[in-house]
């Protein structure tokens, strides 16, 4: 009975820590997207010769400076564009045959922006220029982020619930199985505190052992995940930050506290029904 509790705690704890890590990854991704997408937009200039580019830039500059809702704007230099693309595509090699897009990043203000009017003006002064406020991306991405968050937190909640139920069931059956022992020590003068302490110590120890093993294995697994430097930067870096490591470490401690509370509560319930 006892070792079953330890083994199950180990497995569930492993899954809980992994689920917490995945939640944190989902949060990281969604935060990154939110920061990048909210209150920003971009105008992509068509690829033209250098002289023509200068003219287009001046024309677009005039349009943007007169457009209500646009608080500020700046032409992104190649290094920034390259870094942005690297987020999605990995390292972008310097190659004259593969020119980088010329992008003007817009900072949007509180005033409403008439995107249709802006695109018309851009078409008039710089045919081929595209205004993109990420709306096409934002909707599906927000939906996906929300779904991932619900899935991740839902998994953590269900796993914690399953572990709590398991502890509760084990303690109840252990108390039934140890009915004789409880009766003997009661006859010898043991009070509830003594019996409670003995049982709590035993079962908390078994849960804690499982929780520590499970979370340690999961943390080693997370630590050994490949980083962008290892895989050529096709993926974003999801290595936990110090704060995230602290949160992951807090999970087994929180579970042990939860187990302590369930064990004491269950023992109390059983005793309150004992004549």
């Amino acid at each position: 009975m006892g070792w079953l509790l330890t083994i199950t705690s180990t497995v569930l704890m492993f899954l809980i820590v992994v689920a917490v890590f995945l939640s944190s990854v989902a949060l990281q991704v969604s935060n990154r997207w939110s920061v990048q997408l909210v209150n920003t937009a971009v105008v992509q200039l068509p690829l033209v010769s250098d002289g023509e580019a200068e003219r287009l830039l001046n024309a677009v500059d005039i349009v943007l400076s007169r457009t209500p809702g646009v608080e500020g704007y700046a032409l992104l230099d190649d290094a920034t564009v390259r870094a942005d693309l690297a987020e999605w595509l990995g390292e972008v090699p310097q190659d004259d045959l593969l020119p980088l897009p010329r992008l003007i990043q817009l900072r949007l203000g509180p005033a409403p922006l008439d995107t249709v009017a802006l695109q018309s003006q851009l078409d008039a002064v710089a045919p081929g220029a595209i205004f993109d406020d990420y709306n096409e991306w934002r909707g599906p991405l927000s939906g996906s982020v929300l779904a991932i968050r619900i899935l991740a937190f839902g998994s953590v909640a269900l796993l914690v619930f399953a572990l709590a139920v398991l502890i509760w069931l084990t303690i109840r059956s252990a108390l039934s199985a140890n009915g004789k022992v409880i009766e003997i020590v009661s006859q010898l003068g043991a009070n509830e505190r003594f019996i409670r302490r003995g049982l709590t110590k035993r079962y908390l120890g078994l849960v804690a052992l499982g929780a520590l093993i499970g979370s340690a294995v999961a943390m080693i697994g997370i630590y050994l995940l490949p980083t962008p430097a290892d895989d050529g930067a096709l993926l974003s870096d999801f290595t936990p930050t110090l704060a995230e490591w602290a949160a992951i470490t807090a999970v087994p401690l929180a579970i042990i506290l939860l187990a302590y509370s369930i064990i004491r509560q269950t023992i109390g319930e059983v005793f309150s029904k004992t004549p």
Binding site: I184, G189, N191
Partner: protein, 225 residues
């Protein structure tokens, strides 16, 4: 120390003991006799507050058992030594650990008691089974271990239900000597037994009182055969 005042007890509607009134003084030695099913074990269970009287009262150390909280009952039981008829031991603890349980429960120093444990186990001749589990020893050895456990903390009152039921005559005599010795040290004994030779043996050494349960009541003037 233990006082029954018009105490009656019934299981369901079946009256087992009726209007018992008796006071068991400190340092006294009592034998509780009567036929099987007369209520001797019930009497002892009333003394340990495992059962409560339906009417009247049972006082333990001046406290009415019906008004006690669980913790108070536990504290009072620490001052009792009980040798039960169906000797109860914790299966996964060794005999020595089982005997030391009352010491652990009452938070006494275990180091000091380990010497007592050795002497006590030598005295009841079970030193050889100190590390055995209860399932590995005989009924007689368990009976001796039960007595050792009952006296390990030197309680004021020792309640025993057929303590010599499972031991040979030689060991029964040794147990009697132990009880007599403890009684001379001021311990109170209440022993439920059918064994009249045990009664005679003790009576020849210390002053005893016979409590005979007859027709569900106590016959305090009874004399052993």
């Amino acid at each position: 120390m233990i006082e029954f005042g018009e105490a009656s007890f019934a299981y369901g509607g079946n009256i087992v003991l009726r209007n018992l009134s008796v006071t068991l003084q400190t340092g006294s030695f009592h034998f509780l006799t009567g036929p099987s099913g007369a209520g001797k074990s019930t009497f002892l269970r009333l003394c340990t507050a495992s059962l409560m009287p339906n009417s009247g009262f049972v006082q333990l150390y001046g406290r009415d058992t019906r008004g006690l909280t669980r913790d108070e009952v536990a504290a009072l039981r620490q001052r009792l030594g009980v040798v039960d008829q169906s000797t109860q031991f914790v299966d996964h603890l060794t005999i020595a650990e089982n005997i030391l349980l009352p010491v652990q429960i009452s938070h006494r120093s275990q180091t000091a008691t380990r010497d007592d444990l050795k002497d006590l186990m030598d005295w009841v001749e079970i030193s050889n089974i100190a590390d055995a589990l209860p399932s590995q020893v005989s009924g007689g050895e368990l009976a001796r271990a039960s007595l050792a456990r009952a006296v390990i903390t030197a309680p004021d009152i020792i309640l025993a239900d057929e303590p010599t039921g499972n031991v040979d005559a030689d060991m029964a005599e040794r147990l009697v000597q132990l009880m007599v010795q403890l009684n001379r040290m001021g311990k109170t004994f209440v022993i439920a037994t059918h064994d009249l030779s045990l009664v005679r043996l003790v009576k020849s050494q210390v002053e005893t009182r016979i409590l005979r349960i007859k027709n569900k009541t106590l016959d305090l003037g009874a004399m052993p055969l």
